[in-house]
């Protein structure tokens, strides 16, 4: 899946590339950036190239190997850390690299953030670059937009994604729109991030899945991280992107530990991640559900099934290339998500797959999602609003009959 690439000079977001062969090195054309680093690694999954400007110059390599992530890009062992530390590392590297990057949110300063993602950054970069704001989500999101239009690159931290519902007006009407309505005169390179999803008995108001609500807004991109590795890569890519990006983290994943490369790397915002290649069925998931799926996968393998698991990562736009290739191979799709049944990411994904890959499907797309209920507080009830591995196993068995 990953290809090591030793870069010459630095690049920010990967805007265009010509593909040669999965085995050979990719040559990437770069955006001019004043800073240069001597070694720079770009990690890609298969041979797919992304973003609109690439579309013209490429030979799509469909047999690019989607191998397990442990044929890891790191020639050296790398270092181990937790997901929130990975986010912080990515954030810190970007703040170091570009003086325009700043963070704003509640308790991000000396408190270090509710989930410690910005710990110690205020000491290092000062109160102005790591700004504590009063409790007014709409306002500090608006503030970030104003700052972005004036040349800064702010990162807005919502203490919980659910609170960003208060910022919906600014995000929808201004963040997503102003680049367009100003005729391209003003860019809004903000990153809006925060933890969301169902935690451990946090109550209904703190268990919102905001990706359902935001997915319609034109002009924004959405990504969801699930491992320390992709958390850091996506954070960096989001900061470097000129578009407004919403980065969804999950409350329960902050303490995941993984070994990540020492070298600098950024990931593509629009790419999905092949977690486990397989032949029988495509399971599409993201964020925390990835782990439930992988747990179910173990059971399924023991039962003789060979599921292909893809972490879609990019929620807007969907990586239909990777997904499509998988569907063409397995002909069966199961979507496992944490969103509600109605109007969630799964619902949109089902529609997209049915529209584009209908001919390749041997069975209807099945989508496992949470029920259309507010998340209850009681632990056992809460557990049953989230898709469990046993349900996934059953669904696969039924689909593969």
């Amino acid at each position: 899946m990953a290809v090591v690439f030793q870069g010459i000079g630095a690049t920010a977001a990967l805007t265009s590339a010509t593909s040669v062969d999965s085995k050979k090195l990719y040559i990437l054309s770069r955006r001019l950036v004043s800073e240069t680093k001597s070694t720079f690694m770009v990690v890609r999954s298969d041979g797919r190239l992304n973003s609109g400007s690439n579309r013209r110059a490429q030979k799509l390599i469909t047999n690019a190997v989607a191998t397990k992530a442990d044929s890891s890009p790191a020639t050296k062992p790398g270092h181990e850390l937790l997901l929130f530390e990975a986010l912080r590392e990515g954030l810190e590297e970007e703040m170091e690299r570009d003086a325009r990057v700043c963070v704003m949110g509640e308790d991000v300063g000396h408190y270090g953030g509710s989930y410690k993602v910005t710990k110690d950054l205020a000491n290092k970069y000062g109160d102005l670059r790591v700004l504590d704001t009063p409790i007014a989500e709409n306002s500090f999101t608006g503030m970030a937009i104003g700052a972005a239009m004036t040349g800064l690159r702010p990162i807005v931290e919502g203490m919980n994604m659910g609170f960003l519902l208060l910022a919906f007006n600014q995000i929808s009407n201004n963040c997503g729109m102003l680049h367009y309505t100003s005729g391209g005169q003003f860019t809004i390179p903000v990153v809006i991030r925060g933890p969301g999803g169902v935690g451990r008995q946090l109550g209904a108001e703190h268990s919102q899945r905001l990706e359902s609500y935001f997915q319609s807004i034109p002009g924004i991109q959405m990504v969801a991280c699930s491992t320390p590795y992709n958390a850091k890569g996506l954070m960096k890519a989001a900061i470097r992107s000129e578009n407004p990006v919403i980065l969804f983290e999950h409350v329960l994943l902050y303490n995941l530990k993984e070994r990540i490369p020492d070298e600098e790397y950024i990931l593509n915002l629009e790419e999905a991640e092949m977690v486990r290649p397989g032949e029988h069925i495509t399971i599409l998931t993201y964020s925390r559900m990835r782990y439930h799926v992988m747990q179910a996968a173990k059971t399924l393998v023991n039962k003789g099934y060979d599921p292909e698991v893809i972490d879609i990562r990019s929620l807007k736009p969907f990586d239909l290339h990777t997904i499509g290739n998988s569907v063409k191979k397995t002909h069966r799709v199961l979507i496992v998500e944490e969103c509600m049944r109605t109007g969630g990411i799964g619902a949109s994904l089902t529609a997209a797959i049915n529209e584009y890959f209908h001919d390749y499907l041997d069975a209807p797309v099945v989508c496992l999602s949470s029920q259309d209920v507010p998340t209850p507080y009681a632990g056992t009830l809460e557990e049953w609003t989230v898709v469990q591995p046993t349900q996934i196993v059953t669904a696969v068995e039924q689909l593969c009959r």
Partner: protein, 486 residues
């Protein structure tokens, strides 16, 4: 009796503590104090803290009045009183988060409405004569004439483009009639580096900064030359080279964005401030309150200008808020504020100039409430005679017109004549009609502009959607407008 004395003591307290701009401060003061006439301000009745009468059931404890020390009104000392204006006693104070607060054993509610409203700063009277002893920044002939001609241009542009909408040539328009002084005089007090975040009734600021009548018309007609590429409705101007953020229809969203822009200037230590405008209606939005609070906490150099024009579409201010206008809200957030006669160009100019200087040197926000009147309808979709009396509109249009008031002052200085006036108006009218014609005939933006700039570069789904649209157009050419290039 005692109550009267208490009030006058509060006057002194108010004078020395709250009129930050007038005092001789420890920090740099903007204008040379001799330019101003501080005595003037004290002789008008100012509102200090508001006092309700103590509830009768508490009785009048004589010790309350007996232990108070009475100060002279002219006192200018800065020391912290051992006794505060609420009659709190010395030695009974406590450190609370935010500072020291003295206790009082008297239960007294601060009145919800002042006895006197905050007075309004003006320099010229209704006949355009400078008021005696008024303090303002001198304006040169050149500057005054530039301001005046811009005000006339704005009025003419509004009138003609409004008519153009009525004739069906543009789809929508919104005038600033009656608010020309605010538009132009505030713009005149700023530098080109100051970032402006408008609501939508401030095209005069852009006009002052050099946006041409042709550029205005292009945006209204949504043609190819429009900087917004035809994507927004008329009057949603925006120009990054003029430091004028694109108008966004949503009310008050620019208020917190202004804090962000100011934060950016503060980080770069620029010698510039941010100016943002909103109406009386906009102050009801949550964004106003949070934005002002933010600006105060962040110490952001923003000048907040509220065009209190009495109406928010059909909602009069009496139904919008119950406070003494907007100026008192600044104090609630810890922001220095002033109320200005928005139809007095010189007062507007002086106040804005002062506010800007304070915002930049002291790095703090300033709130200016400009009292004015929305002479025109809210927009072309509104007929204001339905909810307000016609003679009220007429009164403000004629007797309280900011342009004629300023004109009188300019005339008295011998800088303008009737001949100049008619020439100017004819000229502007001609230019504008010409610009409209050109704009109307110009090509519209091509269909590709429907999809560009949504993101920085065109993503695959939009590419696809564009292709689908083009196919559709090819298949049904008769349904596609002929004047829009493909």
């Amino acid at each position: 009796m005692a109550i009267w004395l208490r009030r006058s003591r509060s006057l002194a307290h108010y004078l020395k503590a709250e009129i930050g701009f007038w005092k001789v401060p420890n920090q740099r003061s903007f204008l040379n104090p001799c330019f101003f006439n501080p005595e003037k301000s004290s002789s008008t009745t100012l509102t200090g803290e508001n006092y309700g009468n103590p509830p009768s059931f508490l009785g009048n404890s004589p010790t309350l009045f007996g232990s108070r020390r009475f100060e002279s009104i002219k006192s200018g000392r800065e020391e912290l009183d051992l006794e505060d204006e609420n009659g709190g006693h010395q030695n009974q104070a406590m450190d609370f988060p935010g500072g020291r607060i003295s206790f009082t054993s008297e239960m007294k509610f601060i009145s919800e409405s002042p006895r006197e409203r905050i007075p309004c700063y003006r320099v010229l009277d209704d006949d355009g004569l400078p008021i005696m002893h008024s303090s303002f920044v001198e304006v040169s002939k050149e500057a005054a004439l530039k301001m005046f001609s811009n005000m006339v241009t704005l009025e003419t542009m509004d009138t003609i483009l409004y008519e153009a909408q009525r004739q069906g040539r543009i789809s929508f328009y919104l005038t600033s009639i009656g608010e020309e002084a605010i538009n132009i005089a505030t713009a005149a007090a700023l530098t080109p580096h100051d970032v402006v975040l408008p609501q939508y009734r401030e095209p005069g600021v852009l006009l002052w900064r050099g946006f041409t009548l042709q550029e205005f018309s292009n945006q209204c007609f949504g043609n190819k030359a429009d900087y917004g590429k035809g994507r927004q409705m008329p009057i949603h101007y925006g120009s990054n080279k003029h430091n004028y953020f694109t108008v966004s229809s949503t009310i008050a969203t620019q208020i917190p964005q202004a804090v962000g822009a100011a934060y950016s200037l503060k980080m770069d230590k620029k010698d510039a401030c941010v100016v943002t405008y909103f109406g009386d209606g906009g102050t009801s939005e949550g964004d106003f309150h949070a934005g002002l609070n933010f600006a105060a906490v962040m110490e952001a150099p923003v000048v907040y200008i509220c065009r209190n024009n009495g109406w928010a579409i059909s909602t009069p201010v009496s139904q919008q808020f119950r406070s003494d206008g907007v100026v008192v809200k600044g104090k609630a957030y810890g922001i220095r504020s002033i109320r200005v006669d928005g139809n007095d160009a010189l007062a507007v100019y002086s106040a804005t100039l002062a506010a800007r200087e304070m915002a930049i040197t002291e790095q703090k926000p300033i709130l200016i409430e400009m009292l004015t009147y929305r002479v025109g309808h809210h927009s072309t979709s509104d007929d204001s005679t339905k909810y307000r009396p016609v003679d009220e509109i007429e009164h403000w249009k004629t007797a309280r017109n900011p342009i004629s008031r300023f004109r009188k002052w300019v005339d008295k200085n011998g800088w303008w004549s009737d001949k100049d006036e008619s020439e100017l108006r004819a000229n502007v009218r001609k230019q504008l009609l010409q610009a409209i014609q050109v704009a109307e005939k110009a090509e519209k933006p091509p269909i590709s502009n429907l999809f560009t700039d949504v993101y920085e570069s065109l993503p695959s789904n939009l590419c696809e959607q564009e292709e689908l649209l083009r196919e559709s157009i090819k298949r049904h050419p008769q349904d596609y407008p002929s004047d829009v290039p493909v």
